[in-house]
């Protein structure tokens, strides 16, 4: 019997060595595998290269990993946010290396790694400083730069539900980088709300087939759901928040 489920987050991230390249899913907080990141912090690995769209929010998750100075380099498209103070301080102090990649090139380079593409010509970034030093070519009258795959030793991602074969479905825009990162890492580790029986996921709606997944751990239902249905009652960071009828939401910008 194939059983990719593991009992806890520590087992899920076991074996990630110092110096590893680790993709971490999520766009801002949505889809960020916080429990896996916490386990990675507890595991002690350091000198990591992290691939993520951002560079951490607030003081939890990826930001906490950065704060512990476990990250040598980050590859991302949008590090600077209103709540990226942990990264900002490390960057200004010269304690973290940054490779800035336009978001679409980041996504496509991750996909290329998973899809066995050696390199591809992208129109994004042509003529900008982010294309400095890259090979350029004009094809059918349009300028392109050559972009290479981004691979990882591990991918840590968050999905909604998974089964013991590693088939996954996601939830809304928390899907983001999960499906492509799952294809691009030697070992893909997934946290899900719930592990469902084999056959419970509609084969037409599986987003990540289990072939891309190595380990799955259930971490319990996200606080804004109850029995799989949206119930709300949280702020944008997912913290329980009693809202008045006249209340205003805390909104990121």
């Amino acid at each position: 019997m194939i059983d990719k489920t593991v009992t806890d987050a520590a087992a899920a991230v076991a074996g990630i060595p110092d110096g590893a390249t680790v993709m971490i899913g999520g766009f801002g907080r949505a889809g960020q595998p916080v429990e896996l990141i916490d386990a990675l912090i507890d595991g002690g690995a350091t000198g990591l290269t992290i691939v993520n769209n951002n560079a951490g929010n607030g003081d939890t998750g990826l930001a906490a990993l950065l704060a512990k100075k476990r990250v040598r380099k980050i590859v991302c498209s949008f590090p600077r946010q209103h709540d990226s103070w942990v990264f900002d301080e490390l960057y200004r102090a010269g304690e973290i290396e940054l490779e800035l990649v336009p978001q679409g090139n980041l996504a496509e380079r991750i996909r290329a790694a998973g899809a066995g593409i050696g390199a591809f010509f992208s129109p994004t970034g042509v003529g900008t400083t982010l294309a400095d030093g890259k090979e350029e070519r004009t094809i059918d009258g349009r300028r392109y730069v050559l972009e290479y795959p981004i691979r990882a030793d591990y991918a840590l991602i968050s999905a909604w539900k998974g089964d013991r074969w590693g088939n996954l479905v996601y939830r809304e825009t928390a899907r983001n980088f999960g499906p492509i990162m799952a294809t691009a890492a030697a070992t893909t580790v997934v946290q899900v709300d719930e592990i469902v029986p084999l056959g419970a996921l509609d084969p037409e709606a599986v987003v990540t087939p289990g072939i891309f997944v190595d380990r799955v751990v259930a971490v319990g239902e996200r606080p804004w759901l109850h029995a799989g249905a949206f119930v709300g009652g949280v702020d944008i960071e997912g913290r329980p928040a009693p809202f008045e009828a006249s209340g205003t939401a805390e909104v990121e910008q």
């Binding site: 766009f27 801002g28 907080r29 949505a30 889809g31 769209n53 498209s77 949008f78 590090p79 600077r80 946010q81 900002d88 200004r92 800035l100 990649v101 336009p102 978001q103 679409g104 090139n105 996504a107 496509e108 991750i110 996909r111 992208s122 129109p123 994004t124 970034g125 042509v126 003529g127 900008t128 400083t129 982010l130 300028r143 996601y170 939830r171 809304e172 825009t173 928390a174 899907r175 983001n176 980088f177 499906p179 492509i180 996200r222 804004w224 949206f230 709300g232 009652g233 949280v234 702020d235 944008i236 960071e237 997912g238 809202f243 209340g247 205003t248 939401a249 909104v251 990121e252 910008q253």
Partner: protein, 223 residues
């Protein structure tokens, strides 16, 4: 002192140019205001780079769903008819030229349509580009929404950008608080001047020769 449209009026002006059925991406910051002025009786489909077509309005406070956000990481909703997809598919949609319109902010736009909107190039600044470069080269029509002048009075419409570029020759139209400009063969063409602005007064503010297209019939942009 020339007439200036408020940011909300400008958003309304841009919204009026977006036809029913258009697939539209609104950049973070001021362009998101455009959503507030899209007519409710028209179906216009909003794309957000983080994997959603058919983005709806902000949720009620108690109904915030942290899994459902826009590119600015604000909570949103999804319309009936929406679809979710992953990041490679979302940016394939952008890069592949499937979006009809995007509206972006700007530091500078050159008269050849170069856009600078992601970095001032200031030493010590932390760079962040996000999806701006993909949008700039991807959408069929790239609209810029911006004040014409910086806070210190310099024109954001320039002969050549001095800030780091976002995209080369990518801008089709610039909506400013003073006037609407098209890019025509390497020159700014005034399409509509607001209030007491005139082509000569705009030329003086900008410091460039301008083409006068204020008599052109209002056109509905294709998508």
């Amino acid at each position: 002192m020339s007439t200036r449209l408020s940011r909300d009026h400008l958003a309304r002006r841009i919204a009026a140019d977006i036809p029913e059925g258009a697939y539209v991406n609104l950049g973070i910051g001021a362009p998101t205001l455009v959503a507030n002025y899209l007519p409710h009786d028209l179906e216009i489909i909003l794309h957000t780079e983080n994997g959603l077509l058919g983005m709806g309005e902000a949720p009620q406070p108690g109904r915030i769903d942290p899994d459902l956000i826009n590119a600015g990481k604000q909570p949103v909703t999804a319309l009936a008819g929406a679809a979710y997809f992953h990041h490679a598919d979302s940016f394939a949609m952008m890069r592949g030229g499937h979006l009809g319109v995007c509206v972006l902010g700007a530091f500078q736009v050159s008269q050849t349509g170069d856009l600078a909107n992601w970095s001032t190039g200031a030493p010590g600044a932390i760079p962040a580009v996000g999806g701006a470069m993909d949008l700039a080269i991807g959408a069929k029509r790239v609209y810029v929404m911006t004040d014409l002048l910086t806070k210190t009075g310099e024109s954001k419409l320039v002969d050549a950008c001095t800030y780091p570029l976002t995209g080369v020759g990518c801008v089709n139209r610039v909506y400013t608080d003073h006037a609407v400009f098209d890019i025509e063969a390497g020159r700014f063409a005034v399409r509509e001047a607001f209030g007491d602005n005139t082509v000569p007064s705009l030329a003086e503010l900008i410091g460039l020769e301008l083409i006068d297209r204020t008599d052109a019939a209002a056109s509905v942009p294709g998508d």
